[in-house]
Symmetry: C2
Subunit: 219 residues, 2 copies
């Protein structure tokens, strides 16, 4: 399967790329608005994997090139770039590609972090309104730094929400990452509660000594 990680040059995209490269045989391609930046990052990921004795070939390109032939496209971009990014790849995005939205709108004040969703209720729903492709929300509640650290155990859950005929595929991709368990979050309308969990995880890490880079386990 061919997985394109748009905005895979930072945040959660890095961890997903490294872990899919380590734990699966899928073809990975890193996309960025800046093709050179994508290539540089793919090279760094390959170098890190090589150091660990893992042979991996990660492709790279501008976002509109990266989505060509992709089965799954992960929008690992800040929430305010979701619409722009999807519009920029509209010409080359395969109509049967599954679009995965992990972004969350977060606001902050002196007390902590708070969910700041777009008007439609969630970033996942915003993505679904922007393209005709099947859209699945996933990977919203994963700690980026820990995901990128291949020495770190996960032992956590991710909720998969959205298109009924694509959720299973994305859940499988999540389950293939060691230590990650995919759970069904229901239809797109349930995305707001899932995205709201992310600021809560940051607040809990902030207010409790010894806890950081938290994920969640439903138990």
């Amino acid at each position: 399967m061919r997985l394109a990680l748009l905005g895979g040059t930072g945040d959660i995209g890095e961890g997903l790329a490294l872990r899919w490269a380590r734990d699966t045989d899928h073809d990975l391609v890193i996309g960025s608005r800046n093709a050179a930046k994508a290539t540089r990052q793919a090279d760094e990921y390959e170098a890190e994997l090589t150091e660990r004795g893992i042979e991996a070939s990660i492709s790279a390109g501008a976002n509109d090139e990266a989505v060509k032939g992709a089965d799954v496209v992960v929008l690992s971009v800040p929430p305010y770039y979701v619409t722009d990014t999807l519009e920029a790849v509209a010409e080359t995005l395969p109509s049967d590609a599954v679009v995965v939205s992990p972004a969350v709108g977060i606001d902050t004040d002196e007390d902590g972090f708070h969910n700041d969703p777009p008007g439609v209720g969630s970033v996942t729903q915003l993505a679904a309104e922007t393209v005709d492709n099947r859209v699945v929300g996933a990977f919203h509640n994963l700690p980026a730094d820990r995901l990128s650290d291949l020495d770190a155990d996960l032992g956590m859950d991710t909720l998969v929400v959205g298109s009924e005929d694509a959720k299973g595929l994305v859940a499988s991709l999540a389950d293939e990452i060691e230590g990650l368990r995919a759970l069904d979050g229901g239809p797109l309308a349930n995305a707001p509660e899932i995205e709201g969990l992310t600021p809560l995880l940051i607040n809990v890490a902030r207010y409790n000594d010894g806890l950081s880079h938290l994920g969640v386990r439903f138990t």
Copy 2:
């Protein structure tokens, strides 16, 4: 310490009463709008504990009687009764009692359960606006049926949010329940994200075979 559970005749109040009776030596009193109902329930809890070889004396009374002399008052009532209940006990509620709010506003549609908070942002904040007492939010994300089942292991977290000089006390009361870990959620302003987790837990249980009565572990 004297703990009054208002509305302790159902939902989360039952589990808290049974577990505090089993796991601690605190004085427990069940309050209800209907004193006879409170007495009946306290008798049932005592009978269940006796069957398990646990000697416990649980008092009961109308809400305004139950709060007298209480160190901690838990508002185990539906969210739309929080204000009423606090107003009904205003005359007898000790001014230094800590009020604990576990209620969550939840709405439902065909897709799932959704957070439906009051205008101030959360039920915990609503309670804090209704009384001058110190208010702490806690126990929002616990599954009531599992909490009431003394054979069930918990192995889950509860977030404690609100009054800085009362959170520690409520966290201790939570930690005294076997299998429960209290974590600091920060100030009252962070209550909305905590209350939003409850409908999410119900959705996850609904959409995943084999999962039910879910709690959450931050990991």
